[in-house]
C-alpha cells in the first residue's frame, strides 16, 4: 500500500521547499536552487513544543517497498498528521490515486492520523482557477474514498504557495489540530479580546510564524497577514538593535544618577513589548512576547491607544496563564512532525 510515496514521475511537488521555508526561514525564491530530496530526512525543530519533521522523497513507496523495510509503527504510531503535497501545476491523477490508497491504509491501521492535502504552487493561478482545482481534488478524493466505503475520513484540503502567507496559514491549521487542549487556549484569547476590546488575537510561534491559537472570531487572512508581518518587523529590529552586548560603562552610567536603579528595575516588562497605531482608523496593533518561542499579537479597536496601561495589565494576566498552560503541556508531551509528503503529530 503506498503511503509515503508520492509519485515516481512527479517528484518535485515542493515538500522540501515547504519545509525549508516554514521551518528554516529560507526565502522562497532560494528554493529554486535546492537539490531534490533523494532520501528520507529527519529534522528536529526548535519550537514551542518538540517537533520532528520528516521529509520523504516522492519516489519511495514505504508501504510496499522491496528494498527498504520500514518500521511503520515506529513512524506512524507517534504521528498525528500526514501532509500530502499535490503539485497544482502538474498532472496530479497519479498522486491522487496514491493519496487514496494511503488514506485507506491509514484509516485501517492508524485511524488517529489526520490527512492534510496541500494543493500546492498556486501562486501563478487566478482565484477562479484555484478554487476550481481545489474542488476537483476534493471531489475526486472524497468520491473515490466513498466508493470504497470510507466515509467521514479526517481529511482536509488547503491551497498553498511558499510565495505568500498561505503556506503558513495552512500549517497553522494543521498544527492547531495537534495541540492538546486547544479549546482552553482559544478560550483564554477570546476572553482577552472581550475584556480589552480586541478585534482579533493570535498566539504565534515566533520562529515559524505559525499561529497556534486565535480567539473564536472567524478566520481572517488579512488580519493574520498583518500580525505575522508584525512579528517579522520585531524580529528584524531585535536583531539590529538587540543582539549585541553593550559596554559595562554604558550600563553603569544608566544605573547611576538620576535613576540609581538596576536596569531590571527601570523597565516595566522583561519581555519584548510593542504597539503601533494604524493611521487610517487609529487602531493599534500590539505584540507581547510570552516566552522564548511564543508571542501574543492583537489588533485593537479604534482609540484604545490611550488605555494601553490598563490593557497591558490585562495582557500580563493572560500571558501568565499562557505560560502556565505551556509549562503543563510541555511536561506532559512531546510532539513530532513527520513530513512526507509530510507527517505531523504529537507523540503520546
Amino acid at each position: 500500500m503506498g503511503c509515503m510515496a508520492h509519485t515516481g514521475m512527479n517528484n518535485r511537488s515542493g515538500k522540501s521547499s515547504i519545509s525549508s521555508v516554514v521551518f528554516h526561514k529560507l526565502p522562497a525564491a532560494e528554493t529554486l536552487y535546492m537539490e531534490s530530496t533523494a532520501r528520507i530526512q529527519k529534522d528536529s525543530l526548535n519550537s514551542f513544543m518538540e517537533f520532528q519533521v520528516w521529509d520523504f522523497p516522492g519516489q519511495i513507496d514505504i508501504f510496499n517497498n522491496p528494498s527498504y523495510s520500514f518500521d511503520l509503527d515506529a513512524i506512524f504510531g507517534e504521528v498525528g498528521a500526514l501532509i500530502w503535497v499535490i503539485d497544482a501545476l502538474d498532472d496530479y491523477s497519479d498522486s491522487l490515486n496514491r493519496l487514496n490508497m494511503t488514506a485507506m491504509h491509514l484509516s485501517r491501521s492508524y485511524p488517529h492520523i489526520t490527512i492534510e492535502v496541500l494543493v500546492h504552487k498556486i501562486d501563478s493561478l487566478t482565484d477562479d482557477y484555484r478554487s476550481e482545482i481545489l474542488k476537483d481534488v476534493e471531489l475526486r478524493t472524497l468520491d473515490e474514498l466513498s466508493d470504497m466505503g470510507y466515509e467521514n475520513m479526517p481529511i482536509s484540503f488547503h491551497l498553498t504557495s511558499i510565495y505568500d502567507h498561505s503556506i503558513f496559514e495552512a500549517f497553522s491549521k494543521v498544527i492547531q489540530k495537534l495541540i492538546p487542549r486547544l479549546g482552553q487556549l482559544e478560550a483564554m484569547l477570546t476572553s482577552l479580546c472581550r475584556t480589552c476590546r480586541f478585534e482579533k488575537a493570535y498566539l504565534f510561534d515566533v520562529n515559524t510564524k505559525i499561529y497556534i491559537a486565535s480567539d473564536s472570531t472567524p478566520e481572517d487572512t488579512t488580519s493574520y497577514v498583518i500580525c505575522s508581518d508584525y512579528v517579522d518587523v520585531i524580529i528584524d529590529l531585535t536583531e539590529v538593535y538587540g543582539s549585541w552586548a553593550r559596554s559595562a560603562e554604558w550600563r553603569n552610567r544608566l544605573e547611576g544618577e538620576p535613576f540609581s536603579q538596576p536596569l531590571e528595575e527601570q523597565v516595566g516588562c522583561e519581555w519584548a513589548e510593542s504597539v503601533m497605531v494604524l493611521s487610517d482608523s487609529q487602531r493599534p496593533i500590539m505584540l507581547r512576547e510570552v516566552d522564548r518561542f511564543l508571542a501574543l499579537v492583537a489588533i485593537m479597536k479604534e482609540g484604545s491607544y490611550d488605555k494601553m496601561a490598563q490593557i497591558n495589565m490585562n495582557v500580563d494576566v493572560v500571558v501568565k496563564g499562557l505560560t502556565e498552560f505551556f509549562e503543563i503541556t510541555r511536561a506532559g508531551e512531546k510532539s513530532r512532525v513527520g513530513l512526507q509528503d509530510m507527517v505531523v503529530g504529537p507523540q503520546n
Partner: protein
C-alpha cells in the same frame, strides 16, 4: 543661512530592462519588488517631479533605454537632455549579455554629460546583484567597477580632446560615436595633453560613486540615500540639531526618514551606538519600515503613498527601547534608546517638543514677500 527651495534635475539612464523604472517605483511610489514585474518598457522619457522634504524638488528623468531612444538622446535631444543636470544615475544590469556594448553606450552618455553639465554628480549602480551567486557578488562587482572606471576615463578623454582640438566646432555636431571605437588611440593622446593642459584635465575628471544594488534587498536604499544625501538643503543644520536632540534625550541612535521614500535623510549615533556591528542598519531600517508600510496599506485598504502608521513603540526588556513616529510634515523619526520606562517616556515628550526646531524641513523659509 537657510537656503530656499532647490530644484535638481536627475537623469536615470541605462539600457532597457536594467531596472531604472523599477527602482524609481519602489523608492518614490511605494511599489514592492514583486510589483515591478508588471512594468512595461519606458517610452522616451518619463518625467516626474518628486517633492522631497518640502524644500527640494527632484525632477526625475526616467529615460527609456531602448537603443533608438538612446541614440535620440545623444543626437537630436542632446542639449535638452544633458543640460543643467544635477545628478546622473547610470544603471548597469550585471547579468546583461552585452557588457561591451553597454559600456560603449555609457561612454557616449558620459561624454554628453560632461560636455553639457560638467558639475553633475554621477552614480553608477551595478544592478540585479541578487542574480549573482552570493560568493561571487564581491568579485563580480569589483570587476564591473574596474571596467566602468576605465570607460569613464575614456569618456573624459574624448571630451578633453574635443575641447582642445575643436574649440570652434559645435560639439553636438561632431560625431562622438565614431571616435569611440578606438580607445587605445585616445589613451595615447591623453598622455601628452595631460602634461600641457593640467588645469583643463583636472576640471574634466569626474567623480563617480559606485553601488551594488538589487530591488530584492536593502542595497537599493543605501544607494539612493547617498544620492539624495548631497542634495538635501540645510543638511549641516539638520545634523547639528539632531545631535543636540540625541544628547538631550540620551539616545543611542536617531534616524530621520523622508516620509514617502523612507530614505534616511540624516542620522546621529552615540558613542555606544557606534559599537553596533550592523553597518548596514540604516538601509535595513528603510527597507523594513517600507515593507511594513506596504503591509499596513494592504490591511487598511488605503493608498500606498498614504501615511500608514503613526506611533510605533518597541521595548525590548533590558536590552533597548525604540520608537518610530511622525516627526515633521515630511519626516518620520526613529529613536533608539537605552532601556527604562522613565527614559522612554521623557524621550517621547522631548522629541515632540523638538518638532518646531525642525519646522523648516517642511518648506522653504518663509519670505516676507511670500512664495
Amino acid at each position: 543661512q537657510l537656503k530656499k527651495v532647490k530644484k535638481q534635475k536627475v537623469l536615470l539612464m541605462g539600457k532597457s530592462g536594467s531596472g531604472k523604472s523599477s527602482m524609481r517605483s519602489i523608492i518614490f511610489s511605494n511599489y514592492v519588488a514583486k510589483d515591478t514585474r508588471r512594468l512595461g518598457a519606458t517610452i522616451d522619457i518619463d518625467l516626474s517631479h518628486v517633492k522631497f522634504l518640502g524644500n527640494l524638488t527632484l525632477n526625475l528623468w526616467d529615460c527609456g533605454g531602448q537603443e533608438a531612444f538612446m541614440e535620440n538622446y545623444l543626437s537630436q535631444q542632446r542639449s535638452h537632455v544633458f543640460s543643467n543636470v544635477g545628478v546622473l544615475i547610470y544603471v548597469f544590469d550585471i547579468k546583461s549579455g552585452e557588457w561591451e556594448r553597454d559600456l560603449s553606450t555609457y561612454v557616449n552618455i558620459i561624454s554628453a554629460l560632461v560636455q553639457y553639465s560638467r558639475d553633475a554628480q554621477v552614480f553608477v549602480l551595478i544592478h540585479k546583484m541578487d542574480l549573482v551567486a552570493r560568493n561571487h557578488r564581491e568579485t563580480d562587482f569589483e570587476a564591473a567597477v574596474t571596467a566602468v572606471k576605465r570607460k569613464t576615463a575614456e569618456a573624459c578623454a574624448i571630451v578633453r580632446r574635443l575641447r582642445l582640438d575643436t574649440t570652434t566646432t559645435d560639439p553636438s555636431s561632431s560625431s562622438s560615436q565614431t571616435t569611440l571605437t578606438s580607445p587605445h588611440q585616445q589613451q595615447q593622446q591623453q598622455q601628452p595633453n595631460s602634461s600641457s593642459e593640467t588645469t583643463t584635465t583636472q576640471e574634466l575628471d569626474i567623480d563617480v560613486q559606485y553601488f551594488a544594488t538589487s530591488i530584492w534587498d536593502q542595497s537599493l536604499y543605501k544607494a539612493w540615500a547617498s544620492i539624495i544625501h548631497d542634495l538635501v538643503p540645510n543638511l549641516p543644520i539638520i545634523e547639528t540639531q539632531l545631535a543636540s536632540l540625541g544628547q538631550a534625550i540620551d539616545a543611542d541612535e536617531i534616524l530621520l526618514f523622508e516620509r514617502t521614500s523612507f530614505l534616511v535623510v540624516s542620522k546621529w549615533t552615540s558613542q555606544e551606538g557606534d559599537n553596533n556591528p550592523y553597518g548596514d542598519r540604516f538601509e535595513r531600517m528603510s527597507n523594513i519600515l517600507k515593507a511594513w508600510k506596504h503591509t499596513c496599506s494592504s490591511f487598511t485598504g488605503t493608498p500606498r503613498n498614504a501615511e500608514q502608521f503613526s506611533d510605533f513603540e518597541y521595548r525590548m526588556g533590558t536590552s533597548f527601547s525604540m520608537f518610530v513616529t511622525k516627526f515633521t510634515t515630511n519626516t518620520f523619526i526613529l529613536v533608539c534608546l537605552p532601556p527604562g520606562e522613565a527614559r522612554f517616556n521623557s524621550a517621547k515628550l522631548n522629541v515632540a517638543a523638538a518638532r518646531p526646531w525642525f519646522k523648516y524641513l517642511d518648506g522653504p523659509v518663509v519670505q516676507p514677500t511670500g512664495m
